[in-house]
């Protein structure tokens, strides 16, 4: 019975879940968390790296819980959520970047990997380094638009810049990361 109710709640739309959350239903917030945790986590990781990632995810969802009653246009929840994610990433950027570079220097591979997996890891590392190579603003546009499939108009709303600026940043970000990858021997 409880499982059925839980499944029903999980199938609810964002707007219905938000409505329940606003009325203090923490179970609905749990579903909202499960629905968006991966996107938030991936975005934060691509923007800030792995250090303090769990704390940042928690911070995002705490801000969401506190801010939900003030969210007027509930159909724009995902844009609003990305906006909070962006704000948290921005707030933590400097201290985070220092920790990340230190961690990268100290990181030691903890297992032996197969050659194909090694190649994948190599490419992942290249993409990570390529993203790190970009300015924070360019990285944000590339992550949101190209990796998270957020439309340009929404990216503009999330970052609080005109659509033209998003287009321009996207153009420069792609050029820079393409150049970086080609220098590393990737044939695109």
């Amino acid at each position: 019975m409880l499982t059925t109710v839980s499944a029903d709640v999980a199938n609810n739309s964002d707007i219905e879940l938000i409505e329940r959350c606003v009325n203090g239903d923490r179970a609905s917030f749990r579903h909202l968390y499960r629905r968006y945790e991966h996107k938030v986590r991936a975005t934060l990781y691509q923007l800030c790296g792995s250090s303090l990632l769990d704390d940042l995810v928690q911070e995002v969802f705490l801000r969401v819980w506190k801010g939900l009653p003030k969210l007027k246009q509930r159909n724009t929840f995902s844009t609003w959520l990305y906006r909070i994610t962006w704000n948290v990433a921005t707030d933590q950027r400097e201290s985070f970047a220092k920790q990340h570079s230190l961690e990268a220097k100290l990181s030691i591979p903890d297992r032996v990997v197969e050659s194909s997996e090694l190649m994948n890891l190599h490419y992942q590392d290249l993409v990570q380094r390529g993203l790190d190579h970009l300015s924070f603003e360019h990285r944000a546009v590339l992550v949101l638009h190209d990796l998270e499939d957020v439309p340009q108009k929404e990216v503009a709303e999330i970052l609080g810049v005109p659509v033209g600026t998003v287009k321009s940043r996207l153009f420069h970000a792609r050029s820079a990361i393409r150049q970086f990858l080609q220098k590393q021997g990737v044939n695109l």
Partner: protein
């Protein structure tokens, strides 16, 4: 609008090899649920009621200010030195003309009484 083929290739490569975030700690979900339970909840009613606070303050200020001007006692302006004499002369003239006015019948009796009193004073 279709993206140029070079951009499509790049985006495909980035997506395919985008860094995978490490797994979260096992109890992160519980940690977040516990954390939000400890947060003081601002529900919609509270948010709506918050607007009443500045409105109430403005209303109180308006009532106080308008009440002050409405119920403020009017101050009597002191009479200037020259005006005082002028006012005195006016009062005397006005009084005299009232006493000696013979045109109105209702004042006739008063006037006669005045004459009677004057005459009795002179006699004494």
């Amino acid at each position: 609008m279709t993206e140029p083929i070079e951009d499509q290739k790049l985006v495909y490569f980035l997506k395919r090899n985008s860094p995978i975030p490490p797994d979260s700690i096992p109890d992160l979900e519980e940690r977040i649920i516990i954390a939000i339970a400890q947060e003081p909840r601002i529900n919609q009613t509270t948010v709506k009621r918050l607007w009443l606070v500045p409105a109430a303050i403005v209303t109180s200020v308006l009532i106080t200010v308008s009440g002050y001007f409405l119920f403020k006692p009017t101050q009597i302006q002191p009479v200037a030195q020259g005006q005082e004499a002028e006012l005195e002369a006016f009062l005397i003239n006005n009084w005299d003309s009232t006493l000696h006015d013979s045109s109105g019948d209702k004042y006739k009796e008063t006037s006669n009484e005045e004459d009677f009193f004057r005459a009795s004073f002179q006699d004494n």
